[in-house]
Symmetry: C3
């Protein structure tokens, strides 16, 4: 265990148990009773640690590793020094994660930051709120009227759950979040400092200035969603903002009003989706992607980091650039612009610019 203090000491497993859990084959069956008590990378692992090896470029780390055992694919098995027990499996990293999930089961959902059980005395719970048994409310959380919270859910310290919000079972709402005008399913994780359900950005501009458009929709967050720290999700204006089942959103992402995000989408950090846009099931936004308002991204499509979407992206494509286009076309443009910079528009005879700082 290399990081003491922040989780429970795992219960060790035998390599036999590890093989049974992951479907891996233990190359030397006489080592079935050897135990591992933690997972670690090859360079940090000790004799009681389980590692994985899935890329030849980490061969050096493998050869110097003190790991007790290692997941490896059949094609790379010959590389493993004999001191390390070999667990042969088609997808070494996935097997490694499976064991980590078993060893560190307590890290799969953030727990009370206060070591708390039940409802902290200092939390402010409105008398009209309805909490099932087994809800954990950390100190100084605020639970408004008509809130309902299901068993197994943890509300972090200082979080604010506004009037009428419903939260399902086995959820985790991080410290300092505010959750307003929102219905949340089961097994949802919302990391610290998220802002869910406040007004979206809607104005009618005229000679009197910008007049506020009423925002009276909700936010619906389906089961098994995870939302990263500091992310903002606005309530709908006329309809609801929806985040589909199993979707995972990273930190500091902005989701505008009326946006509908499908199931099992991936939205990487600092991306933004403007009002009334739609992502189909399984869509992927790389880091820092911008989606403009009223855009549509088809199911299963992937947008490369930093791209920006206007209008419609078909299903099951890989696009990039700004405005986004098929990834091959985007790379071709990058290539040709690089060449243009090198050779110049008229064969290198153009005058070079003065280098000055951009900012």
């Amino acid at each position: 265990m290399t990081q003491p203090g922040f989780f429970k000491q795992p219960t060790p497993m035998t390599l036999g148990e590890v093989a049974a859990l992951t479907g891996a084959e233990l190359a030397d069956p006489t080592r079935a009773s050897q135990v591992v008590s933690a997972t670690a990378t090859l360079d940090r692992a000790g004799p009681k640690d389980l590692a994985f090896f899935d890329k030849r470029k980490y061969g050096d780390e493998l050869h110097h590793s003190h790991a007790g055992a290692c997941f490896v694919s059949a094609s790379l098995q010959a590389e493993v020094p004999p001191r390390i027990a070999v667990l042969r499996v088609a997808r070494p990293y996935e097997a490694f994660v499976e064991v980590a999930r078993a060893l560190y089961a307590d890290t799969l959902r953030p727990a009370s930051t206060f070591g708390n059980e039940g409802i902290a005395e200092s939390a402010i719970v409105h008398p009209d709120a309805l909490l099932e048994d087994g809800v954990v409310i950390d100190p100084l959380a605020v639970i408004g009227p008509d809130v309902e919270i299901g068993t197994g859910t943890v509300i972090g310290a200082g979080a604010v759950i506004g009037a009428g919000v419903k939260i399902g079972r086995n959820c985790s709402i991080g410290p300092g979040c505010s959750i307003l005008h929102c219905y949340i399913g089961n097994d949802v994780i919302i990391h610290p400092g998220c802002r869910i359900g406040q007004d979206g950005y809607g104005f009618v501009s005229g000679p009197k200035g910008h007049r506020k458009v009423p925002q009276h929709g909700r936010v619906l967050i389906q089961n098994d969603v995870e939302i990263g720290a500091g992310t903002t999700v606005d309530r709908g204006a006329l309809r609801d903002t929806v985040i589909g089942e199993g979707t995972k959103i990273d930190n500091l992402v902005q989701i505008g009003h009326n946006v509908v995000i499908g199931r099992r989408c991936i939205i990487v950090s600092q991306s933004g989706v403007a009002g009334s846009s739609t992502l189909g099931d399984g869509a992927v936004l790389g880091a820092r992607v911008g989606v403009s308002d009223h855009a549509t991204i088809g199911a299963g499509s992937m947008l490369a980091a930093r791209s920006s979407v206007v209008g419609e992206v078909p299903a099951n494509v890989k696009w990039g650039g700004s405005p986004a286009k098929p990834i091959k076309q985007f790379f071709r443009e990058l290539f040709e612009v690089e060449r243009l910079g090198r050779e110049g528009l008229n064969g290198g005879k153009s005058k070079p610019p003065r280098a000055s700082e951009e900012g």
Copy 2:
């Protein structure tokens, strides 16, 4: 009412009242006593709902709509099926918003998330703070010494108002905000989790490392400003950071120290304005725009989404790109680069790049 639970049931209006409020003409005056009790989009509206129709492309939704009444311009009036009462008006969407503002008046300024009136018992109010009658302080807010707050203002749960801050009347400060070194006018809305008035980013770098430059200005927020969730506004270093009257800022925007933003500006989400820059009245930054430090954007100018500004942008222009330039020039460059990617610098004879993932 399609989203129960998060606002008061509106008081119905007759079409006669709707016409009077908006200046619309009721095509069939015999329907003046017909009532509407909500606003909705054409596809979601029922017989008691009021909708609007302003673009031919929504014709299908109009023809299948169950709306009781509909704002429409004279030129599109003929499209409306006879079952739907016609309200003829020059700007249908604006009239629709006007009615929504009347029906959902309680949503125009965020209220207590706790259903609270007066000062929550659990709030911590310094004895030297001065609160007018009619201030609402939600649970667990912290009000520092020498703070002054005007009547009608709501301070959200867990918000922190630092020493000496002045807040005017009829403002809303969202849950979990921190407001420091700041003077705020009347009718200001600050959404949850904003960070206003902390130190800006100022260092003098030398052999001893980066030495902090004292930040001792304020933030001045004028009347009728709205600031989106999670936005950060730094206090001035040597002068004040100013946000002008009627300016509307979206979520996750960064405003650096000493920035002066004019009146009625629009700053869309995830944009950033670096230290000591100035925006003239009515300037518009689309989403994800970056303005470098000591830049100037003239009054009434618009920057397209994702553009980045260095130096000076004149007044009343439309610019885009990075660095920003006149929008036509920017589109011309996009067009030519796309063509270059297609045709290649030497007529398509250049070798195509290998497509590899950007990240």
Copy 3:
């Protein structure tokens, strides 16, 4: 003092003291007993204020300035009107900052927002937390079990310090921060609303959806680090996330899991560093830079604003663009693309695009 109310009235200094502190030479030694009581820019300074003049373009402001004294380099000294006392020094701005640091020493580290000393009665401190004497805990902060905090450190109102976190001496943790799974050195400033130490974004995707990868590393923040408002730093997954001594991070920055940032780095606002990337000592990221995962930036290298890094950047270079490349090459590309837009690929005979709004 132009901004009353938010800091202590400085104790005036004589010009003799100013010269001694900064190594400047007072041009007219008979003015050694003249006092200054504040620092200000030339255009705002009065007779008791000290200013600086380091760029000819501010000559107008100098000639009309009411400043009592002014730092100036030898080469510009002749410009200063005789009513202003001249302090000759090689680096006028740095000398000016040095005096500001002396006059406004109380602004160098954010203090209690509540005018508080000791531990506020309303703070929730776990009985197993260990606070040295001289710690200041503002109202409604939450201090978890096994937390340790060193003397001189201020914990802001509503901040949440999770179980087991260690914080050194003379630190400032801003209002509304959450600090989890984290060890923090001395003299660290974390501005309001930062999210430190929550889970990073790690999933294994398969037919069952996206399965969470346990995140059980820590965040290590070394001495003299400053982190801007609303920034997020994720805990490590298998190893620790590290922020090196003297590094300064601006607002709304995202630091992913396992990232290792060297000493004295500069990371300007709205930048993001994805998981497992490394920045060498003294690396500089301009505003809105994106660094993809598993990238490496060499010591002393600078990335221009808005650039994006994939793979490896060598040490001591200046790169820009997306993907980032040597800055001269980047500027050359900008220049040639601008020319291409003007002249067209085939000498201006291509058809111009229709200008339409990007979004």
